[in-house]
Amino acid sequence: MLNHAEASEKFIEDAERTTWHDETLWFVRSKRDKVSKLLPEWEALREQASLIKDHTLANLGQYLIEFESNAQKNGIKVHWAKDAQEHNEIVHSIISKHGGKALVKSKSMLTEECHLNEFLTKKGVEVVDTDLGERIVQFRNEVPSHIVLPAIHLKKEDVGETFHEFLGTPKGNKDPQFLTEAARQHLRGYFLGANVAITGVNFAVAETGEFVVCTNEGNADMGAHLAKVHIACMGIEKMIPKRKDLGVFLRLLARSATGQLITTYSSHFAKPRKGQEMHIILVDNGRTRQLARDEFRNSLKCIRCAACFNTCPVYRRSGGHSYHQPVAGPIGSILAPNFDKSANVDLPFASTLCGSCSNVCPVKINIHEQLWFWRQDLMKDGLAPLGKSLSMKGMAFMFSNPTIFKMAGYMGRLVMRFAPFIVNNSFNPWFKQREMPEAPKESFQSWYKNRK
């Protein structure tokens, strides 16, 4: 597996596509800017959302139990899963009971996190992602490169080719409307035939035992309304205390995500309709571990709007797959080390710490500060390559000793002035595409000494 820097380098090789990717996502960020500035209360809304989430996380156990009891009263079957494996097994056991061989699934980052598709496919169940972007990446045997726009790394030409291969659309046809219609017709059969529909959850309301699913395509609703069994999968951090809190989050979510005022569908699921079975699976999968870490707790406030992706200058120029995680971008980089530190040691370093992410975040997660904290945590755990720890120790030693610093600076400038080939070569990553700064004859300190 390539690390972030290696994968990015490959991505950037196609300069034109990188420009297109960057500009497409910047367009989304600009739309977000426009609509957020139409609300004078925007910053107050962010603060309110942040406080509600802080409060909920501080009392998470109590709210989960309240939610469970109210959902059960509504006739929903509630399951608890401590990790991805347990979650996948629960889903499978429900499907087995109903004898389904195919199920429809609307977008759910949690099921991506749990690798549910892979698990069910191995058990002989066909999973059909019904979100258009998800279906495209599923055909291509890829993972989403963005949590809101899963196929944003692809151009319409790419989609045309994929649909030609899998849906038999005419070769070379790249008309978005035509291709979308082809996908609709293709998915219609699955919607009508599936016994089981899986959806994600955007918000679960403790007070009422209902959950809310926000989509633009209506595919979650179509699946849930047609199937005999509806399984909703959610991370335990999706909880909010009261229905009235929803107003705060629904106003922030779509504006932050795509610059829409609200998602096309904000569907409330409170109880199964007659003859339907409704299940909800509450998944921990490392969330309580993160909850216990002071520095990283508030990463659990995330409402998955992806504003931090769209604003991130690194993400826009490296693409989602360079993060090698279901959730990419800045938020993914602070969530991933919680799952596996050594496999994700590169991600907190895939940032200039510019701080844009923290300031677009609708729930005020201090993302760039957490990136910094993860860097400390991972290096303390000894996950740095040997060369890096040695050079850091060397630098720390030099900067602790003014005489050595002055000597090293003097020698360095001497080398750069009289033997520039020692630094201007392919072993110096700075020099590959940039000139080195010009080395002056004397340092400021030596100039200052002679000035008096």
Binding site: P313, R317, F399, P440
Partner: protein, 237 residues
């Protein structure tokens, strides 16, 4: 008022003219400036690379050089932000100032004798802008302001313009500039390109590290456009 000039390590070694301009400008404004001679580095290169635990010697050295001053002023937003957020001494954290911040908030400068008859592109460095809040940012719903622009308004002849995406990062990012070389350079190239679209003669900012990065890219492209630290403009007669 005891004021010390903090000269970050790489400014001392590679951009002495930035420190000279800072010193001269403060002196012109009637400030008696001390320059502790055994200063080295703020510790940020190690800390941002994940080795904050190794900066003890560096922090101690900084403390020894600067503990006796009311104000510690330096010409780089990034180093100042690091000290403000991470130096172990409360005394140090509360006395460090970025130069523009110091001129506007402490000295409350209302006039300068500077003259710089050129068109410049203003680069708002992230750590100065979002970290030290030297200017407003497009991410937030807030009234626009900029301490850098406020100071440039006091300079005769200068015309400053912002690039498209006024506060996008240039991609320097400390060790990021070599560990993520491809992204870093691409970000820098994009930043430089949007400045060049404005037909400027100089790219000007408050953080020498961003300028060093963009200068490296400009020079590799053979561009005539130069970089300058804002103090070099404010001190330009």
């Amino acid at each position: 008022m005891r004021v010390a000039l903090f000269v970050p390590c790489y400014v001392d070694q590679f951009y002495p003219q930035v420190a000279v301009a800072t010193l001269e400008l403060l002196e012109k404004l009637g400030v008696e400036v001390h320059v502790p001679s055994n200063q080295t580095c703020c510790g940020q290169p190690m800390a941002n690379a994940g080795f904050a635990s190794s900066t003890e010697g560096c922090d101690t050295n900084f403390f020894k050089n600067f503990e006796g001053f009311d104000y510690i002023v330096g010409p780089t937003g990034s180093c100042i932000l690091h000290l403000k957020e991470h130096h172990p001494s409360e005394k140090i954290r509360s006395s460090v100032y970025e130069i523009c911040e110091f001129l506007v908030d402490v000295l409350k400068v209302k006039s300068l004798s500077a003259n710089f008859p050129h068109k410049i592109g203003l680069h708002q460095s992230c750590h100065g802008q979002r970290g030290l809040r030297l200017s407003s940012m497009t991410e937030l719903n807030e009234a626009p302001f900029s301490k850098l622009a406020q100071l440039l308004d006091l300079v005769k002849g200068v015309e400053y313009v912002y690039p498209e995406r006024a506060d996008e990062c240039c991609g320097f990012g400390g060790t990021f500039c070599v560990t993520e070389e491809a992204v870093s350079v691409r970000m820098g190239q994009d930043r430089v390109e949007s400045h060049l679209k404005n037909e400027i003669e100089f790219i000007v900012g408050g953080d020498t590290s961003c300028l060093m990065h963009m200068e490296g890219i400009l020079k590799r492209q053979g561009s005539k456009v130069q970089v300058k630290h804002i103090v070099e403009i404010l001190n330009h007669a």
